[in-house]
Symmetry: C2
Subunit: 98 residues, 2 copies
Amino acid sequence: MDETLKIMKLLSDKTRLNIVRFLLDGEKCVCKIFPQVKRTQSTTSIHLGKLENAGILKSRREGKKIFYSIRDLRVCDVFKAVGDKKGKILKKCCCMEG
Amino acid sequence: MDETLKIMKLLSDKTRLNIVRFLLDGEKCVCKIFPQVKRTQSTTSIHLGKLENAGILKSRREGKKIFYSIRDLRVCDVFKAVGDKKGKILKKCCCMEG
DNA sequence: ATAACATATTGGTGAACACCAATATGTATT
DNA sequence: AATACATATTGGTGTTCACCAATATGTTAT
């Protein structure tokens, strides 16, 4: 499938976009994520699964908790490209040199 | 509404993505666009309308024909950010300096 | 004015998917 | 093993929206 389309589809949902935005601040536990994005635990879990499955996020277990973080740094560049607030904070970007 | 989300939604459809990709080569007439993206004239017209309405594209009449082109150069940067083939061709980008 | 052409709009249909509640799985503690 | 906690999965519902065919609007030429 069209890789660009895949990424765009993943970022075209409010909940997923807010998840990624939140994770731009660094690794976060699920229990912190779903209150932040104002969705139920189940809904949030589904979205995290999709993002991880697509390679956008990665996860790590620590005891009972699971921490998610950004794996595919291209999303940072996308935020920068569109001029998102969160993007402006980011200094290091992966594919913007040259 | 969330500006980033708006752009992502617009770029998250196969037809619209292909329209924008095609227009990265320059201004194009509707009659050339809809065969390229393999959609009916009516469907293509709707998508062009949405993209123009959102400020991504602009249009210009020349006789009976209407030509569309890219107005919001951020989409170029988005293509570059995700590593899309079309993005790699582009040399000038608007918001990537610095 | 009428015909021919280019694009826009409308109406109806089907599919994709976000959402929540409820349940299941998995992990740590006692 | 039983309980409590954290996350994942399932089932069902409602909405959004892409699509096409048909029709309407607008432009040029005769």
